[in-house]
């Protein structure tokens, strides 16, 4: 049984790496049939697979198309597992509200960051594109989030990030805020008072972990 599980975890990780959606779903169901805990399927099959995807993406070994099909495979498996996982299993590393800011309808970068954060144990609530400050704050309150993640592709919309940061600070809300997107720089993030900036999805995971530590220390 243990060897079978171990082999299946390995196959599941490989299926995620290769973006094989049907195989990922089949292996997830097979493990559940064997009585494997959903949390172990996540921790020992899906997440190790996505970790490899993240490293290969960071190192320019694979590119966005491969990452997207891996994310799709993982998402299909998570759709089966999530109803079976406890709340703490899902939000183990923390809860992040992520969205593309008001006026901006671009979401590839945001989706990849969301997927990488999920595969690193965060609960990610994706509020989509064209997201206003009220949506960020309402969702954050409902979900008990610790971090807000904002994305923008346009120079016309990046300024809206400051609106969200200002509102969070003015209302003395505890959330840590991280930003990213093609026109965003570290300097811009500092100017608007964000807590963190990430140049890509891999950096976003590291930054989210850092901000979670800061959040815990502050509270």
């Amino acid at each position: 049984m243990e060897n079978t599980e171990k082999e299946l975890f390995s196959q599941l990780a490989q299926a995620v790496i290769e973006g094989k959606q049907e195989i990922t779903v089949a292996l997830t169901n097979e493990l559940l049939t064997l009585g494997t805990e959903p949390k172990r399927i996540l921790d020992e099959g899906l997440m190790p697979g996505m970790e490899v995807v993240g490293i290969r993406f960071r190192d320019n070994i694979i590119f966005v198309p491969q990452v997207l099909i891996s994310a799709r495979a993982m998402k299909s498996s998570l759709a089966i597992l999530e109803p079976l996982l406890s709340k703490s299993d899902i939000s183990g590393a923390g809860t992040i509200i992520i969205g593309t800011v008001k006026g901006d309808i671009h979401d590839i970068g945001k989706n990849i960051v969301a997927m990488m954060l999920r595969s690193s144990g965060f609960k990610v609530v994706d509020i989509g594109i064209d997201a206003k400050v009220e949506k960020f704050l309402l969702t954050a309150e409902q979900e008990g989030a610790q971090i807000l993640g904002m994305s923008a592709l346009l120079t016309t919309t990046m300024g809206y990030m400051k609106t969200v940061v200002t509102r969070v600070r003015d209302d003395k809300l505890p959330y840590k805020i991280m930003v990213g997107g093609a026109p965003i720089s570290r300097q811009f993030a500092e100017q608007i008072g964000a807590d963190g900036y990430a140049r890509n999805a891999t950096e976003a995971v590291a930054m989210a972990k850092k901000l979670m530590e800061e959040f815990k220390t502050a509270s």
């Binding site: 198309p65 997207l68 979401d107 590839i108 120079t155």
Partner: protein
């Protein structure tokens, strides 16, 4: 020497009296700064042509890029109502759909439910594709038709009004400005058709079908480019925005971009002397050699870090004598947010790097952002006068 002659020299890898200047302005910049109503700019060929020429003159550019298709006045018959608020204009159509025109950004067309419509990959029958115009009044459709109901055969696919903006710009300034038209690369059309993410996954799911689709779109692109050449443009830009390393690998570029752009350029060359050049945003520093293989006459944008990966000195050394180059000024950190001193320093350095031997057009990498202060853009021509003399 006027702008038309100045740019012509550099398109042919020569020198002129001074470094030419020509930037692509974002649509939002025209909305904010041209003094012409956004509804007219977006929906009317004549108004857009006037905006292009007026702004080129205001910034002392040597050329203009016509980056919207010509429009038919028939759109007016489909308007139900136009609502204006402090930050956007909403054009409600008789079919219940609507277009939102922000005052500072590209408009988009929505269903009554507030959604944009894209076909799925499975929906696509490649045989029914020819050209996808993302900036049509009603954006992408499958099978594609123009506006609200104008279905056309492949043998006569591009309506005559499609070329009206070119004609108008040429009549306004064709004798003194270099007039460039735009076609979308098959790869860009494919990504726009499926809304990026699904297109990128499709190349992993069914690369053979994707290649058939790209081949079909190549035929329409060749047709359009040849027709633009017949209108007398001075150059044709292939807009290939999504072909950088931010999205796809070199191998994927080799497979899904290069052969199709190569064919377009080769076909246009067989019937016309009009130079065809390539605009690819973002990180292209790792694939300049592949872009050369397409047979392109020039490479546009050359985004510098942090937006892209191109060092102008390295690119100049590699590309000099092979193709003309255009771009490399950071449109965000320099032109939009930089101080006057930052701009003078950055732009002067680029002129000094790009100018030697010619074949260099001073330009922003990618388009000038909507809120870029006009006085920042005016500095480009001033600096070209000061430091760009041959």
């Amino acid at each position: 020497m006027n702008g038309k002659d100045r740019i012509a020299r550099h398109l042919n890898l020569g020198i002129s009296d001074r470094t030419p200047v020509m930037c692509q302005l974002s649509i939002g910049h025209y909305f904010l700064h041209s003094g012409i109503d956004p509804v007219e700019i977006w929906f009317e060929s004549g108004a857009f042509a006037e905006a292009l020429v007026n702004m080129a003159d205001r910034y002392s550019f040597d050329g203009v890029l016509i980056n919207l298709p010509g429009r038919s006045d028939v759109y007016k018959n489909s308007v139900k109502e136009i609502q204006r608020s402090h930050d956007e204009i909403k054009v409600i159509w008789k079919n219940g759909h609507y277009t939102i025109l922000p005052f500072d950004d590209n408009p988009h067309y929505y269903t009554p439910a507030g959604e944009r419509i894209f076909p799925t990959f499975d929906d696509i029958d490649p045989e029914q594709l020819y050209y996808v115009e993302p900036w049509d009044v009603t954006e992408v459709k499958f099978p594609f038709f123009w506006g609200f109901d104008e279905h056309r055969e492949k043998s006569d696919f591009f309506p005559d009004y499609h070329f009206d903006t070119i004609r108008k710009v040429k009549s306004l300034a064709g004798n003194r400005l270099s007039v460039h038209s735009e076609v979308f690369s098959p790869w860009s059309q494919f990504l726009e058709l499926l809304n990026y993410e699904n297109a990128l996954m499709a190349i992993m799911d069914d690369p053979i079908k994707v290649k058939v689709i790209l081949s079909q779109l190549t035929e329409g692109t060749i047709d359009l480019a040849k027709k633009q050449a017949l209108e007398g443009v001075d150059a044709i830009l292939i807009s290939s925005a999504f072909a950088g390393a931010g999205l796809i690998s070199r191998d994927q570029y080799n497979e899904f971009v290069l052969p199709y752009e190569k064919r377009i350029i080769s076909e246009v060359r067989q019937t016309s002397d009009v130079p065809v050049y390539t605009h690819t945003c973002g990180s292209i520093g790792d694939r300049l050699d592949l872009m050369l293989e397409t047979g392109t006459r020039g490479i546009d944008t050359l985004d510098p870090p942090p937006l892209g990966t191109v060092d102008l000195a390295e690119a100049k050394q590699f590309l000099s004598g092979k193709v003309f180059i255009k771009g490399n000024i950071d449109p965000v950190n320099t032109l939009l947010y930089g101080s006057r001193e930052d701009i003078i320093s950055d732009v002067t350095r680029r002129i000094q790097t790009g100018k030697p031997g010619g074949g260099y057009i001073l330009s922003s990498a990618c388009s000038v952002a909507p809120h870029t202060p006009p006085e920042h853009i005016m500095l480009l021509a001033e600096l070209a006068e000061q430091h760009g003399k041959y």
